[in-house]
Symmetry: C2
Amino acid sequence: MTEDRVVITPWQVTGKIDYEKLIEQFGTEPITEELLGRITKITGELHLQLRRRIFFSHRDLNWILDTYERGERFYLYTGRGPSGPTHIGHMIPWIFTKYLQDKFNAKLYFQLTDDEKSLWPPPGLAIDEVRHWTRENALDIIATGFQKGKTLLVADTMCARTLYNIAIEVAKHVTYSTVKAIFGLEDNSNIGIAFFPAMQAVPAFIESRFAGRNVPCLIPAAIDQDPYWRMTRDVAPKIGFLKPAQIHSRFLPGLLADGKMSASIPESAVFTTDDASTAERKIMNSFTGGRVTVEEQRRLGGDAEICPIFQYEYFLLEPDDSKAEDIRQRCLRGELLCGEHKAAVAEKVKAFLREHQERRERAKGCLDEFMVKDEYFTHE
Amino acid sequence: MTEDRVVITPWQVTGKIDYEKLIEQFGTEPITEELLGRITKITGELHLQLRRRIFFSHRDLNWILDTYERGERFYLYTGRGPSGPTHIGHMIPWIFTKYLQDKFNAKLYFQLTDDEKSLWPPPGLAIDEVRHWTRENALDIIATGFQKGKTLLVADTMCARTLYNIAIEVAKHVTYSTVKAIFGLEDNSNIGIAFFPAMQAVPAFIESRFAGRNVPCLIPAAIDQDPYWRMTRDVAPKIGFLKPAQIHSRFLPGLLADGKMSASIPESAVFTTDDASTAERKIMNSFTGGRVTVEEQRRLGGDAEICPIFQYEYFLLEPDDSKAEDIRQRCLRGELLCGEHKAAVAEKVKAFLREHQERRERAKGCLDEFMVKDEYFTHE
């Protein structure tokens, strides 16, 4: 796939992604060694997603650290469009967000954009289906380990009074031209999705609104969500709020050759509710960076960069950097064969799922303690 | 002003309006003698706004009467954009709506589009200002005499959870092209006002949504609101609801020569909170259909059709048809001079205001019984 066919919008990620080039294109900053040094000094340890530059880019992260060092608290905001089951790829930034919450003792708003998913892509999901996935995804979010009492799951339709009231302030400063340009909407797009970027902007301001003073906000999210935050940052000063800072992650590649993960293609990813044999089958059937024959693999080595099996290790399953590097080297040198590696990763995936599914089961008992309603917010 | 410069959108009414032509242009039906006969049979008496064709046009009114005669209840829906003080022109359709409520024992949803007024026209009003006018207008609405317990004042921002949830269903079926064409929006219009038509559609469906079965809805409103209901009627069957019926009123002309009434031009209308001397001064300074000199007036007569002083009588202040007709004839024959007529109308206006302001004062004690919140509506 040629580079110019790479498409990154909040609704579409295709092509082989050059992350360095994205930093240039989007005008963001790379995560530097110096920045990692600052974070280490504060947190005591760097999360593997920072060490390995899974989170690779940011906006205003230095400012967030400045304010934190001055004793100010910031809060976190991330989100999920509840259109299908959760896969391991979705969980990558959530796991990192939990690290941020724990290390910075930060409140977290986790938006579930159920409205978006009933509006887009056309014809949108039926509302009952969106509600189903909202609940299912919420269980995975809670199972990630976020702190009770400091983590608010905000489903747009459940908190619509609160969100809509702030969204109209945002919307006042966003033209249809802007959403056309940023999100690739067209004149035949529906007016709900045209308005939606204003709803998605709200959690970046909500804490300041109800605190009655500006509270810095940091948004950890995959890089494809950046267009929303660019718009949000443009509007912020116009309505008296701070621009939210951001930290951007790469995408975990899918298990099929095209690299995409999709809820509509079950074999493209391991889902959090897959049973052990399903997960094992998916891993064993995965596309890899290996060669067509064992002989070729031994002679030429594999390509770890494009290999989802290696990337599952790198993004999530192998916490030890030297072991991860060792695995990479053995792939490159053709010492580690794909069948053998798949079998090892399948075991790790099954262990991950076993633990996650236990926590997920327990999450069913405390869903209401995480999901907030309009009543949570103070109303005049 | 030439005919082709007549502009009628929900935000703009200019030019001398040919109401017969509007029926053709908008594709509505005239209120016929036969229809008036049906209404008389049911209600026992025709409101003067029907006898005098202040309400002159409709969609599906025969269907509403059919369902009523079969024993089905319909409900009423009308609204107000709270951007300034209430003038007598605003009250004309409200007074008629009260007649409908009383005669058909109908529930009424009265929407206050505070969101719209903070979004449009640019730059929109500050939210505190909109809230102020929402309360002020609500007092006038209550003072009109609507029945407590059967009348729900729905301010969009106060009921946003309920409204937004239904509005996204509507929005799914409305494209940006459509709102551009219907409401004259442009690409540099803000995305809040682009979405707003979906919010305004909601009360046409809300009773059916919460009743769990289709309940017919009749919308009495000035003809300039028709574009909203055309859109609403297009969407209705796509989301399983009945098309709302409509009945359309003419506009009471303003007191200045251009015929417009505007909250930003105090002398253009009598406002419900004007004191007696202010109201009297406005009436005495009014533009009329009279001639430049008394001599000419005696010789040529006045033009009652374009005269706001006569129209105040015709729309509101003279309930007796034969007396109203007598006044018209005396204007036309030059027997009734403008000064004399103004003095008479000023007295009637002052009497109207005295009574209204008493009721308005009492309304302050029961605002909360009329204004509903999200909690009023059942939530899953």
